[in-house]
Amino acid sequence: MFDIASIVVTFAIMLTLYRAIKGPTVYDRVLAANAIGTKAVVILVLIGFAYGRPHFLDLAVVYTLINFIATIAFLKYREMGRLD
């Protein structure tokens, strides 16, 4: 059950990866990368329940928090042209 679900989510990652690779603009790539991060979190939760270790949920929460650091840095770079 959890295995099937995680395989389906992996296929969703592949579809999103197509957008990340194909572009055409860099904003598409950022959005796709963010979506892939979210789906990775979902896979993490599914793996946790498949292994019978529900405390992976805590990890998943922290992953979600990490997910948008790169996005914020990117947006700041695009807006100001520099990071500092």
């Binding site: 990368a33 790169a70 042209g81």
Partner: protein, 182 residues
Amino acid sequence: MIDILLLLIIVACAIFALFMKDLLSATIILGVYSFIMATIFTRLNAVDVAFTEASVGAGITSVLMIAALSRTKRYEYHYTKGQRKKPSALFSKIMSLVLVIVTGAVLVYGTLDMPEFGDPEAPTNQHVSPRYIEETHHDTGINNMVTAVLASYRGYDTLGETTVIFTAGTAVILLLRRKKKV
């Protein structure tokens, strides 16, 4: 099944990150690479490694690369056709290809006589691991073995690592700080 799919995604990410002319896009795809890699580490039950990969690979490295890009150029240097067809350019290309192939072949050759994945008879599972598994709780009173090794058995080592990282962080902040207008 899911491992194979995730590894395929990793390979696709790596290949397309190489072919990106826009370095910012390559950075973002490397972030995706790190996130999938962290998922694979979790599949292998290496939660600590996965956590480091996610925070360092997907978080800090992307930020540092974007910071570096903000100080340099965003696009790869575009060679003209004349430059590309020069004998010296061709020679360096072929040499680097040969170097990469030889290194890869040596690495693959090194893996040939390694024990099967997860083999309980493997030397790594015979020699040191049982001692840690049996004695860790008695020695240190810490439940998680990885934490015990990092923070107790190798405490001084971790202290040194932290010092190195602190120094590197200070250096990066000094390099990236905003210069005051005189």
